[in-house]
Amino acid sequence: MTDNDTTIIAAPARTAKDFASDQEPKWCPGCGDHAILQQLKNVMPELDVAPENVVFVSGIGCSSRLPYYMATYGVHGIHGRALPMATGLKVARPELSVWVATGDGDALSIGGNHFIHTLRRNPDLNVVLFNNEIYGLTKGQYSPTSKIGLRTITSPSGVIDQPFNTAALTIGSGGSFFARAFDRDGKYLRSILKRAALHKGTSLVEIYQNCPIFNNSAFEAFATPDSKADKTIYLEQDKPLVFGKEKNKGIRLDGFTPVVVDLDKEGLSTSDLWIHNETDINKASILARFADIHDKSEEVVPRPFGIFYAEERVTYEDALTEQIRDAQKNGVASLEDLLKGESSYVIK
């Protein structure tokens, strides 16, 4: 008999089900959002965070319905404004795990200003950007990431605006973390979400998400077995940039230009290739531009997936907390001090 006779029963490990709310998702059948929701529920138990300490914040759009389906705290706000809402919450309550579910219209069009400013401030938010290159909830208008030429109900002759490059915009805005994933590759998505959650600072995960109704197969080339191996490249820290069905192709840097090489034909080894380093902002910037390198409208380098960039940098809320701690080093000032002020005078 010990003098401590209370038995500590370890709480049963949480599962994805513990993070599912009682609301039935109302997304269209076949929508990529279902898969992303599943991976978010899957990753939560791995993060060792209690549901009451997790908040999902969103704006408006199909993806922004996500908070209703998570058994955590959630706020569904107004169009484009999820990031400042999440920032205010995080600044007030730094101990919470704050997530933002947003889309290409919500984050990059109506919320574009908040997007760039949030990234430079770097509050510790996990931002999951569902990019389907279309407006879904308003039924099929083009979005700021729609490809040039895309015919939609508001671009019957084809889109003429240059689309945003989310990766380049993130890095250019001073973001400290950018990763790209794919709705269809659940396991990989989950691993990226986990890394994003563990990153201290604003982590931006762009997820290519299929909208089967208004922009079906926008990312098909990166998914079909025929082309996937040649059109995608999966980034791994300290590993060479190798791709292709036979893993016989790679990327070399010629100055600032990425060049596709055939290892067999050119007699090169993987050690001759670009070695991925997610802390190198220059390389991350070049990776971000891969999607823009075209030859006769064909992309000449594969589309990168994975963590482009991850920089450890002080978060906004930590910097503010530090300033407050410094101001209070001689004690927290009282209400009496406040009311009296510093320039009061006495009339006798």
Binding site: Q23, G74, M85, G88, V332, A333, G341, S344
Partner: protein, 626 residues
Amino acid sequence: MTDTKKTTRQANVTSKTSVSVLFAGDSGDGMQLTGTQFANTVAVRGSELNTFPNFPSEIRAPAGTIAGVSGFQLQFSSKPVYTPGARFDVMVAMNSAALKANLKDLHRGGIIIAGTEGFDEKNLKLAGYPDGANPLEDGTLDNYIVFPVPVLQFTREALKESGLSSKDVDRCKNMFVLGLLYWLYTLPLEGTIETLQAKFQKNIQLAEANIKAMKAGYFFGDETELFANLGRFDIAPQKQHGTYRRVTGNEACAIALTAASKKAGLQLFLGSYPITPATEILQTLAKKKKYGVKTFQAEDEIAGIVSSIGAAYGGALAATNTSGPGLALKTEALGLAVILEVPLVIINVQRGGPSTGLPTKPEQSDLLMAMYGRHGEAPMPVIAARSPVDCFYTTYEAARIAVEHMTPVICLSDGYLALSSEPWLVESPDNLADIAPRFQPARKPEDPPYLPYKRDDRLVRSWAIPGTKGLEHRIGGLEKQNETGNVSHDPENHELMTKLRAEKIARIADTIPLQSIDNGPLKGDLLVLGWGSSYGAIKTAVEQALEEGYSVAHAHLRYIHPFPKNLGTILGNYKQVLIPEMNSGQLIHLIRDAFLIAPVGYSKVQGVPFNEMEILAKITDLIKES
């Protein structure tokens, strides 16, 4: 050390009850500093005081022009004062533009102290006087008592051995004028000497030069024959014993938010974007970190309010401050705060509009926007401050209502209150109302499910903040099912929720004080019903009218939505109701709508506050006509 009693020639000292002084010059002449120093000196001595700065919206408008004139008006008195004075008794005009811009507001027979260097050919031309005309010489000022003083020349003489650059010497000329005014009103120099020593503690040479220039001004008054006929004046201090501080309206708002957070046991979060004339609230709170205050200078007005909503959802006392154009940008988020039912204080410091309008000038033209300027039916409480000190009490009350009724509250101030100042008898923490947040306690698994929109008898829902076990719930801008908060498009439910949201605000009337009559009889010929910054002018005018024997009373509204429960009864006790407003008539709409009466409106839309003479004239006209 200075001895203000030691004079070479004893000028007569005349006692007066109150004096209104205007310091006016070019924006570069240091008139704001001069006025502030003068105000501090009379305040610390124990005078009643009200101050109002008036400056151009440009940081450095072209020197010497009317557009570049910066003024600081103050009234100090042996009895309570509520305005800086309808007209001033004394005007310091450092240049001809300052004289031209302000002469119309100087009492006939008033005193002009003119810095003659500002009336040279170049300055006269910049001020737009015709060729060859000089008001100091051509008789246009015959109805006033004019003292031309070569301020710059005397300052240079006094500081010729100071070793300062000529630019630095010339910048001391405002201190010469200040010294002269201290002599004229038999005021001590010590307070300003201490301030200058503290302000320039890293540059003793500069401190000494400023002090020397001020003393030179003082002794000039003493030695010159110029003031022989006028003599000196004394306004005996009458303030009651106690500890005071001087606050502007904007400072008072910032102090109130911090005080409310302390009293409620909440952290304060302010999400804000700089906008004139509201910015000092952000600036003041940014310096309150030792009280744990968190300020967030957002990228725009929308992020300012939305970040505050996020902080409120997280359990903070959250606030945002702005002015008209910013409130317009925030309106979508106001709708969200209404439907989420989270506490939020929105301080709107009104200015002349629409659009950029008159950014540095006051107006009361956002009342209807505060009441109705939202999409959908989104009622929220609206309250208004009446004086710089009242900005404290009204903002504090806004925070109390927000937290205790789980609602956004609009607190209206304006550019006049924001920058005006008056002495404030330092408040004791015990006198401040308690503020009780209704946090929902943690829930055990066996407890019934948490219902985010279940209401108490005041129809207020509880505050369930993240981190509380068992209360995980999802809310948002979509219409929600009663009690559960789940998304609902049910027609009957939407109507019910719309009514519940409105009724919740209406029931706040049960918790606010009844409307009181500020002055005058409880029944009579005329009630002057005001709101906001016109308080001082109405108060002074009604006092005067009562002295003259008119049957007139004054009631001033703090609570505009909902109205105090007895307001209708009060309005019925007078034959006529006069509503002066710095807009084309906005409160009058609300009063007509609520009480089906026909008040008389009196509007002024000039970016300039009402003065007591205008209101008094309107009161006497109305009563005589009827």
